[in-house]
Symmetry: C2
Subunit: 257 residues, 2 copies
């Protein structure tokens, strides 16, 4: 059976009208589906309002106890529950999950080498038992970027990774199509040219694109993540604007083995 | 089949050690169970930190859009997900629900007579379909005091009422025992005397206790709520400290028809 796992990023979360339009179309997708959402800028805005300083080391955010609280409130509270309420309004029966719910996404604290990231968790296991029960009963599950350690501790965990690890685990029972929606039409040959979408990337062309410096920076972990998911059982992966999900022939990038 | 619905109040939520001890014992309760939690003082503390003014009219809090956001973040985010993570740590597979999740608790905005309470919802329907699916698969569901209108809007809703309306709806399929845990040992004859617990109240003695002024103020809506639940199918109701759940012969109040 087919299953769609769709990850949406901050550009949709932060734009109320775009989010509403997305959820309306998402609700109409037939068959089992999972939504994974990032947090957007709301968490930073709340931290500012609460005067909790943002700690960055080497350009990476550190999650101390106060920051974890903020993330839990914003991701699993405000964003998750408003998404669920809107989906219900569009006739899609949904539940908002953190990785702790149903014991689904289990992580361990990222080991301290040179940097202590605080309450950041790396996924060690995904348990799909409760998730599959819900999906097979026409309930859509919406995940925020939070995991837990099965010992009472929540963790901040990258939403892209949650989407790919859920997809891998679910690929034992479903033919999983994983979609990453973001602000670009896909992987671009030239960042300045919105229409220079590379429509297909496979593991061979990926190496070349990296060597040529066409794929660099933040796109590398995103694509590594995709090839990892394909290797471990995910059927197909696509990257682009959310329109790729709802409009035929809307340009986007497909990742092949 | 028996089902326990347990509501815990702010005195447990606000005390980290008490909450942990409660969750540890709660995790060990056998058979299907539902937890309903209030929000305690955390929401007021966050509102203060965010400089969102608390609006009170005639001693009742008004839920404007900013306050609803705070409640959603604190109840459905921080409190709910930490409870779920702790329960997982104690071996109890749990999910944190708002009333929007699984389309479970449906409400409408409280009608404006003299006061506009803002985003406060009065329950009009409980749909137990998803809830029963989870309970019959050994998953414990933890509810926060939030409902929705099936049209995208979340509402602040009294946790005592959520507990009683869930209990009534579930009593079609289960023999429901509803427990209200709070800071007193039960309904007291004299507020000054912690041990003056009235161990049994029925609808007849309730009228007398009200006439005699022994039951007054905040205890009246609480007990009205209980008799309403008994009338509509709930098997038994008890009020008292959480110890009543875990220690035999711990003094508490039982409500009878």
């Amino acid at each position: 059976m087919k299953l769609k796992v769709i990850k949406i990023g901050g550009n949709i979360i932060d734009d109320e009208i775009a989010l509403d339009a997305f959820l309306k179309s998402f609700a109409d997708i037939e068959g089992p589906k999972v939504l994974v959402h990032g947090g957007g800028k709301l968490a930073s805005r709340l931290a500012e309002q609460m005067k909790v300083p943002v700690q960055m080391i080497d350009g990476r955010r550190i999650t101390d106890a106060e920051t974890l609280d903020i993330i839990t409130m914003v991701y699993a509270g405000k964003i998750s529950k408003n998404i669920v309420a809107k989906l219900q309004g569009y006739g899609c029966n949904a539940i908002g999950f953190s990785g702790a719910d149903g014991n689904t996404v289990i992580a361990e604290k990222r080991p301290v080498k040179t940097i202590d990231y605080g309450f950041v968790g790396d996924i060690v296991k995904v348990d799909t038992k409760v998730l599959k029960l819900l999906l097979s009963n026409d309930v859509t599950v919406c995940f925020c970027a939070i995991s837990h350690d099965q010992n009472g501790q929540l963790f901040n965990t990258n939403a892209d990774t949650i989407a790919s690890e859920l997809s891998i685990a679910l690929s034992k029972d479903f033919n999983v199509e994983l979609s990453y929606c973001f602000e670009k039409k896909g992987v671009l040959k030239s960042i300045e040219n919105e229409d220079s979408v590379i429509e297909e990337i496979n593991s061979e062309s990926y190496q070349e694109l990296k060597l040529d410096g066409i794929i660099a920076d933040g796109m590398i972990p995103k694509l590594d993540n995709c090839f990892h998911a394909l290797k471990y059982g995910v059927d197909s992966i696509q990257l682009g604007k959310p329109e790729m999900l709802f409009q035929e022939n809307f340009k986007h990038t497909r990742i092949q083995k």
